[in-house]
């Protein structure tokens, strides 16, 4: 089997489908919003740089961000479930396919890494007048990125989850250390750390149990999860039939659904709350909130804090917009002896409750960070008003127009 050709076909098919969804994204005007946000961000950043303190702890942002971007090593394999039946016999011929997958993944992730470095570099240069040459730092980070992806490819062969975590933990730690050393102008140290990490990784791999070419179940599961994230983004703009939902137990979040009364009229509230708590969207919500909380403390300026508050709530509202996509092709709700109208109401209530809780959490963090109550209280009121308008006006109207929800 010519697996190089197979890769090209699959990649072509992937991008053909993605371009269709991108057309919906562009039609929504999202790119205009993004461009405006980017321009506003750049102007605000440039202005802030003029007055930023020379001892601003840039490492606090650069190390976690760049360390994460470099340390993560997901290889897009474009594998599907049927491959475990149809491609498995040709496993020995998969090397060219996986090489291409590696190069493809590197191209995109290198772009992300370089973009983050380019964004942080002005701040870094401002706080470190004797900064090393940017191309040198960029080259070092790209080499580390490549090593991280090679580790990612090896991860796809490992049988045990514990071993995969160990290897990935090594990659993240090493990446963070390399970034720190490089930004502290310790290029030699950074290089040594990278070499030591590669050696440690190689030694670990020799002792770990590996499949011949791929741990198929794990590799297919990883690809499915990556595809789900890709489809989740598009589901903000249009229906996505293929969305295979990654499910996280999230006991701590799903647990509060036990408070929903055990009644027929709360059936949809239970179903959607439980589903949402375990969905990718909820994960994005939680991560966005955590990042927002960190930024509220990191940037004590009222203008920044207001911006963080607005951006977090706006991004979160977009997650709730995907709630109406849940279970829309499942026939079970059509069979329940429950008023179909309660389905939309359940979605509205979840969005309202979620946004309100986030507003309270963010406002409390703001008050703690700023040491004042006026602005956070005003933000709380504004956030609650936004949550109400979004849920009871916008979302409710949108759901009324959704044909698949009219059972």
């Amino acid at each position: 089997m010519e697996t190089r050709t197979l890769w090209s076909k699959r990649l072509g098919g992937f991008w053909k489908e993605a371009s269709m969804y991108w057309s919906y994204v562009l039609r929504s005007g999202f790119h205009s919003f993004l461009l405006l946000a980017l321009l506003a961000g750049l102007i605000g950043y440039a202005r802030w740089l003029r007055t930023a303190p020379a001892d601003f702890p840039v490492a606090w942002i650069a190390v976690p961000l760049l360390g994460w971007l470099i340390g993560r090593g997901p290889v897009r394999t474009l594998l599907h479930s049927p491959d475990r039946v149809f491609l498995l016999p040709a496993e020995a011929a998969l090397r060219p396919y996986l090489d291409r997958a590696l190069r493809y993944s590197f191209a995109w992730q290198a772009l992300g890494t370089l973009a983050a470095l380019a964004a942080l570099w002005p701040l870094y240069a401002h706080t470190h007048p004797a900064a090393p040459p940017l191309p040198l730092v960029a080259a070092l980070f790209l080499v580390c990125k490549w090593a991280s992806l090679l580790a990612g490819l090896q991860e796809l062969r490992l049988s045990r989850a514990r071993d995969r975590r160990l290897l990935r933990g090594l990659a993240y730690t090493a990446a963070a250390a390399v970034v720190y050393a490089a930004l502290e102008r310790q290029a030699a140290v950074a290089g040594l750390i990278a070499l030591a990490a590669v050696a440690a990784g190689w030694l670990l791999l020799r002792r770990m149990e590996r499949m011949a070419v791929l741990n198929w179940e794990h590799a297919i599961g990883r690809e499915r999860a990556q595809l789900a994230r890709h489809y989740t983004f598009f589901s903000w703009f249009t229906d996505v039939e293929q969305l295979p939902p990654p499910v996280r137990p999230r006991v701590w979040l799903a647990g509060w659904t036990r408070r929903i009364p055990f009644r027929a009229d709360r059936t949809y509230a239970y179903l959607f709350a439980m589903t949402f708590a375990r969905s990718e969207a909820a994960g994005i919500l939680v991560r966005t909130t955590i990042v927002g909380l960190v930024f509220l403390f990191l940037f004590p300026s009222p203008l920044w804090q207001t911006g963080v508050f607005v951006v977090v709530l706006a991004l979160s509202a977009m997650q709730y917009a995907s709630l109406d996509q849940l279970h829309r092709y499942v026939f079970w709700p059509k069979l329940y002896p429950v008023d179909p109208g309660l389905r939309s109401e359940a979605i509205v209530r979840i969005a309202w409750t979620g946004l309100l809780v986030q507003t309270v959490v963010l406002a409390a963090a703001w008050a703690l960070a700023a040491g004042v109550w006026t602005a956070p209280l005003a933000a709380l009121a504004a956030g609650a008003a936004f949550a109400a308008l979004y849920s009871f006006a916008y979302l409710r109207k949108k759901l009324k127009q959704h044909p698949l929800l009219q059972l």
Binding site: Y270, F331, K334, Y336
Partner: protein, 247 residues
């Protein structure tokens, strides 16, 4: 006898003007188990979809417990539960949570739900898996989840499409015992299955579909008479009937 399910002159399908089902008329009486049999593509699943209200009949009426779907959707729906041929579960809910969702949807009291759920989990040997997600279950286990959800509600009518598919031998026995026990209490069953040897022993009557039409119906003796095969097994009767339909 009180009719729990009654189809009268039902024609319907997936496209208006091109009915897949042609003028079906049969009933399932209270406390009766009726087998719906036919070749692949005969219209069994389509018939079931019409009964469930997932498809609208182009002609004829369907009554469950005396009501049509249009007359009282809530009571119509509450009167029956369904086990599909292929298990369809929510990826995001554990087995226990599926049961809880069904319990809520059908208005069970919490106490009744808890005791029935426990009993069903024990019966189908799924107690250890009650916290598992569908992705971690085999096909047979997922089928058991569908069955447990149907029997949790204890409705007057059960509609089951290929109940034994994927079940292990103990699971099949548990299901048959459960069906027999609920039938004793007055529940009615419409079962679609290709495992004729099993349903022959349990069903009171049969409806034979072929190319969307009902070519035979009645008890086994009545089918034997229609096929002119007195004393024959259901398999042989069925083959004679459908071959006669194809000729």
């Amino acid at each position: 006898m009180e009719k729990m399910l009654h189809l009268e002159g039902v024609s319907g399908g997936y496209r208006v003007g091109k009915p897949v089902l042609k003028s079906l008329t049969f009933e399932v009486n209270k406390g009766e188990m009726v087998g719906l049999i036919g070749l692949n593509g005969a219209g069994k699943s389509t018939t079931i979809k019409h009964i469930l209200g997932l498809l609208k009949a182009q002609e004829g009426t369907i009554r469950v417990d005396g009501l049509t779907l249009a007359e009282d959707p809530a009571r119509y729906r509450a009167a029956c539960t369904y086990v599909p041929e292929s298990p369809e579960l929510y990826d995001e809910l554990t087995i226990r949570e599926h049961l809880e969702l069904t319990g809520r949807a059908y208005g069970l009291e919490r106490d009744a739900f808890e005791s029935r759920a426990e009993s069903l989990l024990e019966t189908f040997r799924m107690k250890e898996k009650e916290g598992a997600f569908p992705a971690h279950l085999s096909k047979g286990m997922r089928q058991k989840v569908m069955i447990m959800n149907a029997f949790l509600v204890e409705p007057p009518l059960y509609i089951i499409d290929e109940p034994f598919l994927g079940l292990d031998p103990l699971g099949i026995r548990s299901l048959l015992e459960l069906m027999a026990s609920f039938k004793e209490k007055g529940a009615s069953f419409l079962i679609s299955s290709h495992i004729l040897s099993t349903i022959e022993a349990y069903c009171d009557r049969f409806v034979v579909l072929h190319h969307g039409e009902q070519i035979a119906g009645g008890t086994l003796e009545e089918l034997q008479s229609q096929a002119d095969l007195p004393g024959a097994r259901l398999d042989d009767v069925f083959f004679r009937l459908v071959q006669g339909g194809s000729a």
